[in-house]
């Protein structure tokens, strides 16, 4: 790795970058300077233009106007390969590793010298890079067997593989556990020490503040704010936070009624809720056991009670049986034994549709994969769990006017941003798709709702809205199970937090002072502490 002087000529300089897509200006005259040894945070809501900017830097898109200077020289980044040659490596939000191949094989995929694979050389390179990053990577592990945090480390190694000087990380923390984030921060430290310039894309304020040397704020395609190293160092975090919120949401912050909520969200406030001891038990699991699917873990002997008005958090690192648990409650996965009781009535034998009708709902984490049918319009997607039911269908025939009328109401109620209910749902953003899922599950008298990673990948505003909806559900006489890998989220929302580890519930903690530590201990968990 060559050392770069971080002060003189910047490694990369973007000047007036503009990129339009049909009908929309994704990037509007953006200037950005990347220096070696610095972490430059790009902060902005979904759709602010972060991803387009990154696509331009990594050669996926070409700007309509503006210049890119690499070490002072105007350069055209014509393709992803060119970007790599220029030393710009990108770690995308979603894994690009081939699951069936080993780590080493994945890394060697990019090598294009000669026919024979230079395995010994690759091993050496991997060893050097791991040492540089301060991580341990098993070269022979299959990519699919790696935890998400490790996968990401491999992705970083892959981006550095051919000697990159600029490393772009697109929402790198969205899939990581708290420990994973801490580990990533260490890796970033070592990288900046060696002179790398790092672009860190996030919509989480606190990450930007704790990791960024520079912070650039994007909004609706424009660069609306920039905080320099000095500013970040001198001013207090609270002060910076307030300013960033104002810049990020600007005018909008005034007309969205939940600014207070937003601030609360940003400050990570905890809600004070109280569930009476004698509240009715609305959902009970008795020794619920459900198999895993493929390489994913199942759950064993899960038992808990959920009272009216209560929010139960399920904490745990990814892959500890979360999906099996959620699906078994929803009726989407067959439980091999054990029971699910809704208001004391056994619903274990009922399918998804019947449980849905009884008010047992499931907001899936796999929004795009199973939560919607992309080619169908927004309106129809809102009713996909009620296919064939009156008054939306009569004698098997769809009543379009009824469906669209009700859909329009739901779209308004849940603030789904769509031009019309007949728009294909696949054209909407992740946040709006989540609102569609929420509208579907939280309408028609919901009683118990399982939320699986309800705010994963969402921007601050939508996150705040989702959490407010969860609270509203509980306050309005419903109850919620919130499965999340984001401990902060659970601490903010839950009355109690249960910890799922290796397919079993290893303990339940009442939320309050010290809960975070307790949950953390259970998560890493000595078996002796298991309940």
């Amino acid at each position: 790795m060559t050392q770069h002087n971080g002060t003189s000529i910047p490694l990369v300089e973007l000047r007036g970058i503009t990129k339009a897509f049909p009908g929309v200006l994704a990037n509007d005259r953006i200037d950005l300077t990347l220096r070696g040894g610095e972490v430059h945070c790009l902060l902005g809501e979904n759709g602010a233009g972060k991803s387009t900017l990154i696509a331009i830097l990594s050669g996926l898109n070409r700007p309509d106007a503006g210049e890119i200077l690499i070490e002072g020289k105007p350069t055209t980044i014509s393709s992803p390969r060119r970007a790599l040659e220029l030393g710009i490596g990108t770690v995308h939000q979603h894994s690009t590793l081939i699951p069936a191949l080993s780590v080493l094989e994945n890394l060697m995929l990019g090598d294009r010298r000669g026919l024979r694979l230079d395995e010994a050389g690759a091993r050496r390179r991997l060893r050097d890079l791991s040492a540089q990053l301060g991580v341990e990577i098993d070269p022979d592990a299959k990519a699919r067997d790696l935890a998400l945090g490790h996968q990401q480390q491999v992705e970083i190694v892959k981006a550095l593989w051919r000697g990159s000087r600029v490393l772009i990380l697109d929402e790198p923390t969205s899939m990581l556990t708290p420990q994973g984030v801490a580990e990533l921060a260490k890796v970033l430290d070592r990288l900046t020490e060696s002179g790398q310039a790092i672009v860190f894309i996030t919509h989480k304020l606190h990450e930007a503040l704790s990791l960024g040397d520079q912070i650039s704020i994007l909004r609706q395609g424009r660069l609306v704010g920039h905080l320099t190293k000095e500013e970040i160092r001198i001013r207090s975090h609270d002060e910076l936070r307030a300013e960033i919120v104002r810049i990020m949401f600007g005018e909008e912050a005034r007309d969205i009624g939940d600014v207070a909520e937003l601030r609360e969200e940003v400050a990570g406030a905890r809600s004070e809720r109280h569930v009476p001891e004698n509240a009715e038990v609305v959902l009970e699991l008795r020794g619920l056991t459900a198999p895993g699917e493929g390489s994913e873990r199942g759950v064993e002997e899960i038992s808990f009670e959920l009272r009216q008005g209560e929010i139960l958090g399920i904490a745990g690192m990814d892959g500890n049986g979360q999906r099996a648990l959620a699906e078994a409650i929803a009726g989407q996965r067959h439980a091999s034994h054990g029971h699910v009781l809704l208001y004391g009535g056994d619903v274990s034998r009922l399918g998804v549709a019947s449980r849905q009708k009884l008010g047992l709902r499931y907001v899936t984490d796999d929004r795009l994969g199973e939560g919607i049918v992309g080619m169908l319009p927004v309106g129809l997607n809102l009713f996909l769990k009620r296919i064939g039911e009156a008054p939306y269908w009569r004698y098997g025939r769809i009543q379009r006017a009824v469906v669209e009328g009700r859909a329009a109401e739901l779209v308004r109620e849940f603030d789904v941003r769509t031009p019309s209910v007949s728009k294909r749902v696949s054209t909407l953003s992740g946040g709006n798709i989540q609102k569609i899922l929420l509208a579907r599950e939280l309408s028609f008298d919901p009683k118990v709702v399982v939320f699986h990673k309800p705010t994963y990948g969402l921007d601050v505003k939508t996150t705040a809205m989702v959490r407010a909806l969860i609270r509203k559900l509980a306050d309005g006489g419903g109850a919620a199970v919130v499965i999340s890998t984001d401990l902060d989220e659970l601490l903010e929302l839950s009355d109690r937090i249960a910890v799922l580890s290796r397919g079993r519930l290893v303990g339940v903690v009442s939320n309050g002072p010290g809960a975070a530590e307790e949950v953390g201990e259970l998560m890493v968990g000595s078996p002796a502490e298991a309940a």
């Binding site: 897509f21 759709g47 309509d64 106007a65 169908l376 054209t427």
Partner: protein, 386 residues
Amino acid sequence: MTETTTTTTATGRASVAALPRRPARSLRAERILDVIIRSIVPVVLALVAGGVLLLALGRNPLTFYGNIWTGGVAAGAWQNSAIRMAPFLLIAAGLTLIFRANIWNLGYNGQFLLAAALVSGYAPGLTNHVPAWLAFALLFLLAGAAGAIWTIVPAVLKARYGTNEIITTLMMSFIGVDLASLLIKGPFHDPTTPLPQTAVIPLDKMLPPIPGTRIHIGLLIAFAAIFVVHYMLTRTSWGLRLQIVGANPRAARHFGINLPRLILTSFLASGFLVGLAATADIVGLWGYIRTGWDPAYGDTIIPFVFLARLNALAVVPFIAFFSVLSTGGDLAAQQAGLPTDVLYVLVGLILLFMTVIEYLGRRRELGQSYLPQGLRQALHLRRAVA
């Protein structure tokens, strides 16, 4: 298909003010345009390329296409083409329906021939003993049932064990074809002839023509089937479930759709429609069946089912076109002194151009399909807002 996404080529120097803003065209108009580009253009290109080929062979393409017109459309010849359409349409309806669910019933030949053998075997006796309308109704039901029953094994295997239906339907098809042959040589053999064939249905016992034409009423039934399938797919809860299963099986599970039941019902419906084609063809046109006769209608029309993008209504013009081509083409090929294979060259060219157009259509979005999902979503959001 998503909307067209022709982005401006990067000039690097375009001024911000000059950024193009495409007028918001209605989604419907765009979709119709898309359908025209993707379906009509390949046909036109194939006719042009076929013309060049004919020129190279020293024939006048205009004369050739003119003869197709004479033999397939002009002066009442269109009625022959229309008669040919009936089994095509029924099979197309059956295939469109099940393909929409992403289930591949490729056993249509066996389903068709087995139904045809049963209809040929029972029709002469049945038409003699019961009123004509009842006989026809029974024969259609018999054929439909035969086609449907022949899908049960693949359907159950798929519903229960997830067995690949492409293989099982093909295997069942072979068995069906041979079983039909056995039936014709055995129980249904016409004793008055040494040829391996069934007794011929008397002309006055065949399906009656539509008044004022020579076209048998089987064509009306075929059109009815097309409309029913289209209605089922677009308006009913069953059709919606079918499409969800086809588009996203994981979502189907999430929405609590009973997958086994849907697989079974769509297979039965598909086989039923394929079976109906046999009655229309045997009782409407041929009057008997003999061993070795396998028109493989399904193989012929499958390209058109796809060309119509699995839309039941859109397949009609394609099948009409092909019927004219094959009816008139016999004459045209004969007069040009060419084998009728030349017609299949034309069909092949249509498929070729269809693929090319599809490829070009994708390419326009090539930049898009390379984008990571998050980015694509962001772009989609902006298009949605615009």
